[in-house]
Symmetry: C2
Subunit: 293 residues, 2 copies
Amino acid sequence: MNSYIAIDWGSTHLRAWYYCDGVCEQARRAEAGITRLQGRPPAEVLEEITRDWPRQAVPVIMAGMVGSDAGWMNVPYLPCPVSLDDLAARLTRVDKHGWIVPGLSLHDRENVNVMRGEETQLLGAARLCPASYYVLPGTHCKWVRADQQRIVAFRTVMTGELHHLLLHHALIGAGLPAQVADAEAFRQGLETGAQDRSLLSRLFEVRAARLLGVRPAASVSDFLSGLLIGHEVALMAETFMHPQPTPLTLIASPALADRYLQAMALGGLSAQWLDGDRAFQQGIRSIAHELDH
Amino acid sequence: MNSYIAIDWGSTHLRAWYYCDGVCEQARRAEAGITRLQGRPPAEVLEEITRDWPRQAVPVIMAGMVGSDAGWMNVPYLPCPVSLDDLAARLTRVDKHGWIVPGLSLHDRENVNVMRGEETQLLGAARLCPASYYVLPGTHCKWVRADQQRIVAFRTVMTGELHHLLLHHALIGAGLPAQVADAEAFRQGLETGAQDRSLLSRLFEVRAARLLGVRPAASVSDFLSGLLIGHEVALMAETFMHPQPTPLTLIASPALADRYLQAMALGGLSAQWLDGDRAFQQGIRSIAHELDH
């Protein structure tokens, strides 16, 4: 099937692409993530964002938090290890033409984890930029170990959400002026975070450094970003990536890719970068193709 | 001076004790921490909580965030290393009878830190329960290294604030039912946090475990508390307490003392417990005594 509608429906945003004969005809986005629906039925929101598109003639393939208990329908997770080739056969139908891609879960002795949405990016990445390890930064950054098409293990690091919490809800972010981009503060944060495994005892120093005039108050955001990402990459390289993590694909937006590639370079990791949107759309394309059969 | 008013004025609470000839005559508390004054002048709030006490006849000794830029007056920190014996001579006068105890700061190549309020507890603890290491749990837990009366180094771990942020502002706390005390969940958290240094990748599992039904939704708070405290104690024992941390005094409320003593026992650390209020009041008593001279 070369004509379909792809939907990336996360916690905060909703994005839609209409493909006709393999070509993307139109793309739309709305601030209508599943935590922002305010009681509106998902079906109604989908109708609106797909207005003027042949919604009743082509499959609508959705991935992300739309499949959670707070979304359209609670779609069961596929337990790992699992082959990405199974995704297309395990869609959940929500109406005549609408399908939701299942998330993945992991539950072993030392790790309990879930993902929704990233599995679709992984499917695309496995085609475009195959690797043994994948890293998908964001609110909840996923670190994934794969064996060919098979997802063997993954972990979640709440890096993006912690940055937001600390800056907007914690004392270390209280009373800050408008934040500015500060590449040097970011780099200092990276180095501190990578060198010192005691992140918890480093966080408060962000506030102390400001009180004592050691660091500009407008650079707290970028320093903190470096601290968290530097720590995350050093920690995961040591605890999750074994043996030697080659090859590694970073699936991210350009802005986040830049930050993670810096952190990885500092730790001696080399990674190929694949744009997150491109990975997602390739993933949906692979699934749509399977719907033919 | 055996007659004085002791004031513990923190971010959220204000507590006051009136001592007459060495005996505590009355104690009062108010939800009037310096973040809750809503524009009321601190002098006015102090008048109110000390009503009927001989406010103009005895010294009023205050410690805590009252000495911060958001408090009554921004009292300069005493830089470490510093002797606790110096505190009484370095008070800042705010009016005829009112004094604020200075906080401590630290700024060396690998650590930038501040404390306000804990220095007074440390002064009391050095008298009541002297040790080489002190741990003061709370919103921002302090780990302190001392050489007799001299404070040599300290670090801050945001354990209490992180627990609050994660439970009340993060996705892992979203939609939880009322939380119940669950000693077993706390113990499991302790063990997980102590064994695994990759705390950042453990936090999200709290949510995953709930989604997959691995842990009761009402026990998230206690599990998370164990996870954070277990991680903190293991981390600080390894990175901050060297050489062998003997003796160690834990300065805490009974509820927090119980949690930290469990975590310390798990890590093979033995500690003497000193009640936090008792330490504070002994600290003020020592300072009041010096005001005689």
